[in-house]
Symmetry: C2
């Protein structure tokens, strides 16, 4: 369980370059986690703070759109919040992998949790995307009208907040693949 | 690269039991793939064949509901079709893993493709679930009415067809975890 030396030393036949590559992958893992954390957190905040009040109102109704008018958007905010919290708490484990590149059990734990979080985040993002699509285009056959004609800036914000979430999905996929490759290199 | 012997022989210190467990995991991988294939195929067929024509009509409109009235359901059928086709084509590789339990590159290839398919299937299933929820409950704030009061059997069919897809999601997650554990055991 010796610490990985820098590549230049080249002690042993091939263990030092291998340890160098492993450490590089662990650092990449750490960076991807930070990026995914930023993306999902930005998505959650951006969706949760979106609301629009139209400049006209009747005696009984004030026209106001908020994210929690639609349960799917609430789920989206919760999913992004949970995943970003998980990514934040996984950072220490990722650092541990950089320092001790032979710790296999932590990698397996991370790959299990990453896969679960990938499922949660993809579910939240694509459910919200389905509703955003409906808000933009409506549906003639079911008489669901596009609400984006009235709530213009609301629609732009909720569409934009999907981006960070989908970036998070791609980054989580990369994290899983990285962990798989790292696991296969430990012989 | 010797073939794995049966457990009872116990030659070497621990390689024979290890190979036995590895083969067991490879067989479990094969079974899970078949189950996931059946689930996603059933979902795709069940959604694609759903339609309902109401027993009344006006001069201009015939009330008929089909899955492709909603683009999200079309995406659901395509996603389930693609994933079930992938699972079918991955079966030979899974068999190869049973026969030769040391082939690491195939495992990494499968873990990459499994993760991508997990993303696609989760996206399709949860987007469709968001729309099914809307069809059942409607939404007062956006004036989207529940269509399930009219199209009753249509709604039951599309709700049921989600089940196979979500079972497929869970099985794909298990497949990824199984591959990760299998990769970590190769030393």
């Amino acid at each position: 369980m010796k610490a990985a030396g820098p590549i230049e030393l080249g002690e042993g036949k091939s263990s030092a370059p291998r340890a160098g590559v492993n450490r590089g992958m662990a650092i990449l893992d750490f960076i991807l986690r930070i990026l995914a954390f930023i993306g999902t957190l930005a998505s959650a905040i951006s969706m949760a703070t979106t609301n629009e009040t139209l400049p006209f109102f009747t005696q009984f109704i004030r026209f106001r759109a908020e994210y929690n008018d639609l349960p799917t958007f609430t789920f989206f905010v919760v999913a992004n919040g949970v995943v970003s919290a998980y990514l934040l708490f996984s950072l220490p484990f990722s650092i541990f992998n950089i320092v001790r590149s032979k710790a296999q059990n932590i990698r397996i734990l991370l790959i299990i949790l990453d896969t679960a979080m990938l499922g949660l985040l993809t579910a939240g993002a694509s459910a919200a995307a389905a509703i955003v699509y409906l808000a933009h285009r409506g549906n003639v056959r079911t008489n669901w009208f596009a609400i984006c004609q009235q709530y213009n800036s609301f629609c732009e914000r909720i569409s934009g907040s999907l981006i960070g979430s989908f970036i998070g999905v791609v980054l989580l996929m990369l994290l899983i693949l990285l962990s798989a490759v790292a696991l296969s290199r430990h012989k």
